[in-house]
Symmetry: D2
Subunit: 357 residues, 4 copies
């Protein structure tokens, strides 16, 4: 109800504020007898981590996750998995200057209106730091899906500002500091981001995620279509303002004769639908795209109000990511993994489907 | 779990297949003492109804909804509201020809793979006819929101194929047979749709919905952000492949200094965010857009397979909408209404917010 | 949230008031490809029906259920099953005399305080007539459980007033007009109930339910232990004030050395636990008992107040059951069936257990 | 779904095994702006703690809870409250002897059958140690209910073996090492428990809980009646095998004329119903009773099997509680508090009720 639980069968409940004591999560419903250790979760946590390059925030967090329960002698037991990451950087003093001010395009105003209390420490619960736990939990889902079905879930930077990136290699994207699928454009991205930072400004981005080897039959009509749950999962990531499945907004100008993915005894002839029909997976790749707004914390002075509704000017000091999109890839992958995992289990409940390779 | 319930506090559970006995729903959690009658729900049901113009499917359904419970002496009692619409057109014979065939871009293939059974009667549960109950339930939410907060939720056709429509009048859109917000472009739309039908083809569309007089503070961090629940609600409508909140994919090329909605003591200076910050309503208009794929049932022959995976060719006989988007406006409005209603109640549970005008 | 949905994986959502238009339900999550027809549901509906003997209320309802969806060509399709029973006896006039009066031990007072509106028609939603839909939905669960696992769920009258009944035959109980497991005590029960009716009074009862051939491993630690979900399911039946699993309150005076069910390679040596350990089924019979309060509607004058809190006297006219417990057996069986069915599916989701015989 | 979350609006999700790294919980939905600190939760944690007297297990745990999030500057913020208690006593070596053995009346057998893996460390997730988090979360609910409505929730030992205790003082019960409501019987209880321990045996118990100053109107028809949710909450506590509301199983022999709580303009004349009618609170005290089975871990040798289904004999070494019921009072109070809190919020969502004193 209050919104901190994701999923129905494979559930993730999270807590934690940016500059509180710790971030944490409980993953409930994980199938038993899967090998799991903290190092399995660190891969993606490290990909998400700030300070990974000179182009992301320099906040220093090693983001070491600790598994508190649900694993015994190296295997999941079927009981809930408690996860925690202690925040090292708990200093809230740097934020006392914005104690009574609403930063433009941040959640400061709305949280205060909703709850009647202002946790001004670096965005509090609204901080993107909350996504550490999505990534950790998503790591569990990714591992299960890969071992059970061979499913791989890989994201990439599709566009940043006016730079459109060709999908050259998902593997390269995975390792690239910009998650760029095109090895030849990284210098260009670096230059663009550098310029933005020097200008005290930021930029939006478009991210894609491809899930391959997805079992057929996942998705629950009519309100939990796979597309619907993906949309919720992805739109719920900080800064996301748009979600597409398959051809997305491109379908607006497509004709039926062009859009429909024809089939033959060899299988589907195309994948404009993005791997779902009627909200249920076809067995093709599931393709999604998301749009992320430009970082709100910028060094350019902006107009706002304080808690007493008095006009003020706000400027963000310290170093922030000029493009939050550059760090969103592992988060988006994790959310796709959580959706697929949840639907594998929901499907089994009713349809007792057998694992495929 | 199985996906036929929407919402958490104001819940809508639906049943019914396109050519089954009836469509129905149970609306649970409706506040008591609101005046409600069947005629309140017929307004939008009539706006959604097929056969409304020569440009939509000619299936004849009067879609008369019956309230079976939850209302006594003209007022809601707080107990669940049972709704039912009997299907008049239950003839499944016309569909026996596709009994063993998967129509391209339909859910025929995926439902069969998921459930191992083929309900070939006009799409069965996957038919857009399922949305009658969303519209009926949405009508209850709309009424409450308007009476309690003055909230209005109005949709419009933003684009069909290459025809982009100016937002001239939401009121006109509401009554227009094409839900066009621009009275001057209707002839053009009619001509375009007519051409498509003659060509046995179809086209995608883009729909917008504006909710005004929305209370501040709605939306639950972090997984039930208002944006996330809107995305789920809208992406779950048949044929939708993309969802945007506010500037949507436009944010990809925006700079932070341009995107952020500055504030003054007079209020917000712009609304690029679409009425939410951190997933919580700001009190500004909530703006969303969706992309709908072209109708899959077209008179142009296409390649597919049958249940035995043998190659076949499929062509849809009978009259179908050349553009499903033309009928999606009341459905999208209803889903936005259900999300807002659910969040009003969820917010009250924790924060006991007071009604505003 | 508002309480009219039961279960998590196999869900039942119900609507309807005693003297409204109809009672109805939506059963979501039913496995596909199970044969199902209305006659499958009538067996238990007839066992629950009023007017079954001279000792139960003479209200005339044939309780003919109609399946509105989810079944095609005689088989479940996996989509939601809509159920409806039209109320024939909708006359609310007989109740106008209690329009402004709270009947003692009825829900009149509490519904009015909660919702601020009085639906005085025969108890409205609080009427035991609401349980028709539990019985109908339970019939679906019973059928599945029997076909898949051989599970049988049978209830019986264990005690009425001071008459304690020996468990002679579950089969006899199933057919007995009093659900008596002891064929030799029926005359005695009849006489006792007759006396109570003549005296204008009523009596409590104790009901038992035995589920045999229950799969091992059902129940979810820690808040959805099978015992916990059974307790909720049974305590939620009208008039129930106590629930026991296994030896129930008898354990208070048992020693550990006496209570513990020892095991050998032959299996469990006893079943004091009632078929669960740690809230998970052992594979033994699941045994539960419930206590039902005496019928509140009696012909003996009682003190109460009206809506203006003025003292009044209330007496129930017309014929009512002197013992609601006499009709509760099929309802209790249905609730046990719904709990087991839900847990079969929940268990599968996580543990993908295989069907047993 | 997997059972580790309690509640719908005020939710508690827990993790942790008896001898794992830590026990933890996430409390979601707590109203903002309530003062809260760790010491608020320690009162009941100390009442529940082992080693409180010579009559309970001597395991040494200081059970110091840490609040990890959701509280800022001493007040709740409306965001999820993370709680953790580190386990000091993680030694699992003492349990290696039962590694492959199912202890009678424990969950060893059923967890292994369900999950296919054996966490033999002191009961793992099935240990009563899991209830620390219920008590901690219940402390938050208790505090809110008391501050908002003056609600007090107090439990007591009603019976242990054949010793029936008079309800002399709830205040005394709260402080008594046996939770005895009768100060004069404590020596007798001590003697009885001492004898049992010397005999290497254990005994069952009956516990009562009284909630006073409960708001009228709590409880959701028809499946979330307050009674139903209380039954679930209480039956889900380790070792509980029976639940009663109000007169409980006593109603079986009551006549309607005797059972019904008559009303006058002064209010209810009695409270046999236990504070609910139709599953909704009347505003009277809510009274419940539970039966707890005798401790399963006893020093008396018993028959069982190992994982290979070979006959074995089991005897528990070390000191265990001869009566788990003696420590269950704070746990039962916590569960009642969680149910009432959840229903306050659920009721507000739909009915926007105003706080009463």
């Amino acid at each position: 109800m209050a919104g901190n639980t994701f999923g129905q069968a494979f559930t993730v409940t999270t807590f934690g504020e940016s500059h509180g004591v710790a971030m944490g999560a409980i993953v409930d419903g994980c199938p038993p007898n899967m090998e799991l250790s903290e190092s399995d979760l660190m891969t993606d946590l490290n990909r998400r981590k700030p300070g990974r390059s000179q182009f992301t925030t320099q906040r220093m967090e090693d983001d070491q996750v600790e598994i508190l329960s649900g694993v015994f002698e190296g295997k999941t037991t079927g009981t809930p998995i408690g996860l925690v990451i202690r925040n090292k950087d708990q200093s809230s003093q740097v934020y006392t200057q914005i104690k009574d001010i609403y930063r433009p395009s941040h959640a400061d105003f709305t949280y205060d209106k909703k709850y009647g209390i202002r946790d001004y420490r670096g965005g509090g619960r609204a901080s993107a730091r909350e996504t550490t736990m999505r990534v950790a939990a998503g790591g569990i889902a990714k591992k299960y899906l890969f071992e059970e079905f061979g499913t791989r879930i890989r994201g990439f930077l599709a566009q940043v500002g006016d730079i459109h990136l060709e999908m050259t290699s998902l593997d390269h994207a995975s390792e690239s500091v910009f998650f760029s699928p095109d090895p030849n454009r990284e210098a260009e991205i670096a230059e663009f981001i550098g310029e933005l930072r020097d200008a005290g400004d930021s930029i939006g981005a478009k991210i894609g995620v491809v899930a391959s080897h997805v079992p057929v039959g996942l998705g629950e009509p009519v309100f939990s279509k796979l597309d619907a749950d993906l949309a919720s999962a992805l739109m719920g990531i900080n800064a996301v303002k748009g979600v597409e499945v398959g051809d997305g907004f491109g379908v607006v100008t497509q004709r039926g004769s062009e859009h429909r993915d024809e089939m033959s005894s060899e299988g589907f002839q195309s994948n404009r639908s993005g791997g779902t029909l009627g909200g249920i997976t076809t067995g093709q790749d599931v393709n999604v795209f998301i749009a992320l707004k430009p970082t709100s914390s910028i060094a350019t002075r902006g107009k706002s109000v304080d808690r007493a509704n008095k006009d003020v000017e706000v400027v963000t000091k310290g170093r922030h990511d000029p493009c939050v999109g550059l760090r969103a890839v592992p988060i988006a992958e994790a959310m796709v993994a959580l959706v697929l995992m949840d639907h594998v289990m929901r499907d089994r409940a009713q349809n007792q489907r057998i694992a495929i390779d």
